[in-house]
Symmetry: C2
DNA sequence: ACAAAAGTGTTACACGTACACCCATGG
DNA sequence: CCATGGGTGTACGTGTAACACTTTTGT
C-alpha cells in the first residue's frame, strides 16, 4: 500500500511559547519573523516539522535554535488547525510552552532572529493566531502552577523565597501573605537552605535556597496549595471543551 | 505567494476516545477498522481532517458519524506525531476525548462500523498508538474529574447519587464514603432533587436529581474536592512535559 | 537612627474525614 | 419480618487564612 488516496496533505509546524522570569516580571520571548509573509512582524519562534521528526522533537529543536538550550521544560499546549490560520497555505500548528531560566539565555539577543523579551502585559501585535496561543499558554501556566511545583523551572539554581513569591505574584497578578507563602513552601520539603545570602535587593539579605532535585522529580505530580482560593484566580484551564 | 517551498506535507487525522457509563462501569467505544491496513482490527473512531475543516470540527463530525450525537462534551487531548505511527504514510493525529450519555447511543451497534463498548479493563489490542491515546485519555479524565464537575456528562438527565458515586468509584478504582460524598456533592448546589425515585436498584429507591444547568455552566471551571487525597490517586496528568 | 526588606508565631475558623444508625420497601 | 440499599448527623483533627512585630544592615 502506497499511501491513503483522496486526502489533503498539509504542512505541520511547531510554535514555542517561551516564558522567562527576570527576577521581577514574567516575560515572553518573541522573534521578528524573517521571511514572508509578514516579514518583520513579531511572532512566536516556530518552524515546520521535518520528515523523521515528531512535533515534540521539532519543538525542542526550534527552542535550541533560538536559545542554545537543551533539557528545557516543555509541554505540548494545543494544536491549532483552523484552515485559514496561515494565509499562505494550510498549516496546522502544534503549540508548546516552555519555561526557561532567563539567565541561561545570554545569547546574542537581536541576532539572527531579532529576539526580544516582552513583558506579558506589553505583548506587541503578533502574526496569525499567535496571540491566542500566548493567551492559552498564560492560562495553562496559571492553572498548572497552582497545582504543581512548576515555576522552579523559571528560576536559577540558587534563588530566594522573596524572589519565588514575586514570581507567583506576577503569574497571578495579585499579592500573597509572605508568612503563609513561606510556610507552605517550606512544608513541601523541596527546598534546601543555603548559608549564603542574596544581598542584591535588601540590606538584610535573603537566604538562598536550592531545589532538592530528588524530591522535586518524585513530587512533581503531587498537588500543592500555594495559591489561596484558586477558584477566584483561575478561569479557563487547559483545552477548553467544545460542543459543536 | 503560492505556498511554502521545500517542506513536507502530511496527512492530519482526528481520533476520538469516547467514554460512556452504563450505570455500573465506564466503557470505551471502539470500532472495527473497515479499511486497510489492519482491516478488522479494533481501533478508535477517527478520520482525516478535510479541507475547510478544523481538527475540532473533524472530531465532532467523526463522533456524529458514529453516534449520531451533537453537542457532546469533547476536548482536545494531545497530538501524536511520531513519524512512523501509521505504517502506510505519515499521518499526524489529533486525539480528542468525548464523554457521552450511553443511553443516547442506542444506535444500531455492529452496524457500519461494528462498534462495541469495552470495559476499560478489557480493552482489546488496538492499532497503531491508539492504546497510548486511550491511556492518556484515561489519566486526563481522572485528573480533570478530580477538579471539575465533569462526569455529569456521562449521566442521563435524571440520575441518582448512588449512581454518580459508582461512577466516581469506577473512575478511580476505589470506594468512597457515601455520607461524605453525598454532602460534598450537594454542597455544590449543582443538583436539584426530584420527587421521583429510581427503584431499579433497591427496594427503598433513590431520589433522582437533575443538573442545575445554569450553575453547571457557570461553575464548570471552579474547583471541587470530590476526591479525597487526590495525590495518591492521580499520577501523570495531562500532557507530560518532555525534556529532550 | 532610620529606612527597607527579611524573617518568624499564634489564633480562629472552615473544611475534610471518620464513623453508626435508622428508613423504606419488596419479597 | 427481614434483607438490601438509601439516607442522614456529629465529633474530631488538620489545614488555611488572617494578622504584627522583631531583625538586620547600609546609609
Amino acid at each position: 500500500m502506497r499511501g491513503y488516496s483522496g486526502q489533503q496533505r498539509l504542512l505541520l509546524a511547531a510554535d514555542c511559547i517561551i516564558f522567562g522570569f527576570d527576577g521581577r516580571d514574567i516575560k515572553l520571548l518573541l522573534i521578528q519573523r524573517g521571511f514572508e509573509p509578514a516579514r518583520g512582524k513579531w511572532s512566536l519562534m516556530g518552524g515546520f516539522v521535518q520528515p523523521g521528526e515528531s512535533a515534540d522533537e521539532s519543538a525542542h529543536r526550534i527552542l535550541r535554535q533560538l536559545t542554545g538550550l537543551d533539557g528545557v521544560y516543555m509541554e505540548q499546549l494545543h494544536t491549532f488547525s483552523v484552515p485559514d490560520r496561515d494565509p499562505v497555505e494550510r498549516t496546522v500548528s502544534v503549540a508548546y510552552f516552555a519555561l526557561i531560566d532567563i539567565n541561561k539565555y545570554q545569547q546574542q539577543l537581536s541576532d539572527e532572529y531579532h529576539a526580544e523579551w516582552f513583558h506579558l502585559k506589553k505583548i506587541p501585535e503578533l502574526i496569525f493566531d499567535h496571540r491566542q496561543m500566548v493567551e492559552m499558554a498564560r492560562k495553562r501556566l496559571q492553572y498548572k502552577a497552582a497545582l504543581h511545583p512548576l515555576l522552579f523551572e523559571l528560576l536559577p539554581e540558587k534563588f530566594t523565597i522573596p524572589q519565588l513569591m514575586h514570581l507567583y505574584e506576577g503569574i497571578y497578578d495579585t499579592t500573597f501573605d509572605k508568612r503563609n507563602f513561606s510556610r507552605k513552601l517550606l512544608s513541601t520539603g523541596l527546598l534546601i537552605k543555603q548559608d549564603e545570602k542574596d544581598k542584591s535587593s535588601s540590606r538584610k539579605g535573603a537566604y538562598y535556597y536550592i531545589l532538592d532535585q530528588q524530591r522535586y522529580a518524585r513530587n512533581f505530580q503531587s498537588f500543592l496549595h500555594f495559591i489561596p482560593n484558586p477558584d477566584h484566580l483561575l478561569r479557563d484551564d487547559t483545552g477548553a471543551p467544545s460542543r459543536l
